[in-house]
């Protein structure tokens, strides 16, 4: 089937306001969800599920969180991993301390805890911008990890703050195999991605983008920039928090505060730069890219060069490739892979005519 709009006339604004106004995209979304929800868990190996698909989904969620804050609301943050930590340790403590708390409720509470902390560390954004704000979120990154290590209460008195996630049980069903964990992760991520897409196409998202693009003008037409920024911090941190809880419960099983370090925050930042700043789909593309690239290099480099280059070379090459790509995207295509995908689609829509 050709990718065409022809013949799909919008006769109402509700039709034009749909998430995916083009029919093929609308089908595409359900087809992709069906493939990843049904086919993949049946066919994928345990390695793929555990080491690739689950982390890609979780990082996508964290990247959506950062994208809401940075891509849509224009507030740079280097604290994403710390907000993930709040979500993970929050969910853990809610499960630990409230008997019989359903897992999904704990997941949401973990996200809300992260949202509250996010708003707190978002307060400086009311006064400072850009580089200085980034430094303030950097403070959040170090402070939160320090608190989680320093006070053993958060990890139920475990040494160096390591926590082991409780079993995930929903309505009596135990999510213990990789397939079950993958499907659960996919469900949560797909639902939250849809919600994010809804947020950015309604008044909430317009307020974020207005504040990002020109805050004086935003205020003059009746948007409250301070409110919009704090809401962005809250929602962004909620997404990171839920991602952090999933990181503990469906990916690693055992986590420590130091695992949510600055490196991880940067990794999430790179995901949105490569995937596309200000794009929900770009968050998925960026996460997939950053998880897959090292695996690809690990397999391709020895195949081409043999072992002549030594073991250290592959990991150095990884850094070089990442660095190069980030510079490329920052300079040439700030809207990342998502924009390249969109350009491709536009070409396809007009194909075979060049304009």
């Amino acid at each position: 089937m050709l990718y065409r709009e022809a013949g799909q006339f919008k006769t109402s604004y509700s039709a034009d306001q749909q998430i995916f106004p083009i029919l093929q995209d609308r089908y595409g979304y359900w087809v992709i969800l069906a493939i990843f929800g049904v086919l993949v868990p049946m066919l994928a190996s345990e390695y793929w599920l555990k080491a690739i698909l689950i982390p890609v989904l979780i990082f996508s969620l964290a990247a959506i969180g950062l994208n809401i804050l940075t891509g849509y609301a224009g507030q740079l943050s280097l604290g994403s991993a710390a907000f993930m930590a709040v979500g993970a340790f929050g969910a853990y403590n809610f499960m630990l301390r409230i008997d019989g708390l359903p897992f999904l409720v704990a997941l949401i509470l973990g996200g809300l805890a992260a949202a509250a902390v996010g708003v707190l560390f978002g307060l400086p954004s009311l006064r400072i911008k850009g580089f200085y704000l980034a430094v303030a979120t950097l403070a959040a990154q170090f402070f939160i990890v320090w608190v989680l290590v320093k006070f053993p209460w958060f990890s139920n008195n475990a040494s160096s703050g390591v926590i082991t996630a409780q079993d995930v049980v929903i309505l009596g069903y135990h999510f213990d195999g990789p397939q079950a964990k993958y499907v659960l992760t996919l469900g949560v991520v797909a639902a939250l991605a849809l919600a994010a897409k809804n947020l950015v196409r309604t008044a909430t998202g317009r307020a974020w983008m207005a504040v990002r693009d020109m805050d004086v003008a935003a205020e003059v037409i009746g948007i409250r920039p301070m409110r919009a920024k704090l809401v962005a911090f809250a929602v962004s941190s909620f997404y990171c928090g839920v991602a952090g809880a999933l990181y503990a419960y469906t990916y690693l099983g055992t986590v420590e505060p130091e695992g949510f370090n600055l490196d991880l925050s940067f990794k999430i930042l790179f995901m949105i730069i490569i995937g596309g700043v200000g794009s929900i789909m770009g968050s998925f593309l960026g996460a997939a890219f950053i998880v897959l690239l090292p695996i690809l290099l690990d397999n391709v480099v020895p195949a081409i060069f043999g072992n002549a280059l030594g073991a250290g070379f592959a990991s150095n090459l990884q850094l070089i490739v990442f660095g190069g790509l980030i510079i490329f995207f920052l300079i040439v295509e700030p809207h990342g892979l998502a924009r390249l995908w969109q350009i491709g689609k536009e070409k396809l829509r007009l194909w075979p005519f060049p304009h």
């Binding site: 509700s14 003059v220 929602v235």
Partner: protein, 272 residues
């Protein structure tokens, strides 16, 4: 604009000049040592087109910024619709029905024309975060209802073909038009326009003039206009204020102002 909307407004308001709705008394504003405005008093009547003219740096834009609460004057009183106004922020001014455009276009560059104009509806939209996230029931109905209103403005400004275009890609003249659309979307009772025709060619100016007159005529919107093109100003204004070096040097109908010796001196001999 749609016949229904136009009819509703003309019947209700029409174009007759009413009472004073904005009264400025003894406004002085300075930035550090720079006096931008010195003891300026004038008023604006309902439904009129009130122009502010003067050489560059005379304080015209500062005057608009005082009116909609972006700047706070050190001295003077402002009465809006009869009640004295304390320090107010731009958001409150918007809530009272004052909308504006900027001398240097202040559109949201990364957003489409449609979304830019939709932001003008912000104060009228009531749904919260959770409903937006679910895009369910009231949130969906609200978006669509406001979209309908915005489409009327898009039709009125004849920009249907660019509604989905990111504003950053539009030529200057169209951007100015979109900015007018965003201000109109708020359905303001008072519209402040800061050099809406600057940098336009004759044809674009004519279009903009027509839009301003139509807005004033059909919706009874009071307009405060800053403009350099004397032909346009003298043509469409009901009354004109003339500023020079932050001081008021003339105030009256276009004919009165044209024949005011101080104004003539400032424009001919001022050397700006």
């Amino acid at each position: 604009m749609s016949a229904a909307m136009a009819a509703e407004n003309t019947v209700a308001e029409g174009r007759r000049i009413g009472d004073v709705i904005l009264d400025l008394q003894g406004i002085s504003l300075s930035f550090g040592g720079v006096k931008a405005l010195t003891n300026i008093s004038f008023n604006v009547r309902e439904h009129e087109i009130r122009s502010i003219i003067g050489p560059n740096g005379a304080g015209k834009s500062s005057m608009l910024n005082v009116i909609n609460g972006v700047y706070h004057p050190q001295e003077g009183q402002i009465h809006f619709r009869g009640s004295p106004r304390q320090k107010m922020d731009p958001h409150q001014a918007a809530a009272q029905g004052i909308a504006r455009t900027f001398q240097n276009i202040a559109l949201f560059k990364g957003m489409s024309v449609l979304d830019n104009i939709m932001t003008g509806r912000s104060l009228k939209m009531k749904c919260g975060l959770l409903r937006h996230a679910l895009y369910w029931g009231p949130a969906q109905r609200e978006e669509i209802a406001h979209r309908r209103k915005v489409e009327e403005i898009i039709d009125f400004l004849e920009i249907q073909s660019i509604r989905k275009t990111p504003v950053g890609r539009l030529p200057y003249g169209l951007q100015k038009r979109v900015e007018l659309g965003r201000a109109l979307a708020a359905e303001p009772s008072m519209l402040l326009l800061d050099e809406p025709m600057a940098g336009m060619n004759v044809e674009e100016k004519q279009d903009m003039c027509r839009f301003i007159l139509d807005v004033n005529d059909q919706f009874g919107t009071t307009i405060v206009l800053i403009e350099h093109d004397m032909g346009v100003v003298m043509d469409i204004s009901d009354r004109v204020v003339v500023l020079d070096y932050g001081k008021k040097i003339g105030d009256g109908t276009p004919d009165e102002v044209k024949n005011n010796p101080d104004v003539i001196a400032a424009y001919l001999g001022g050397g700006h």
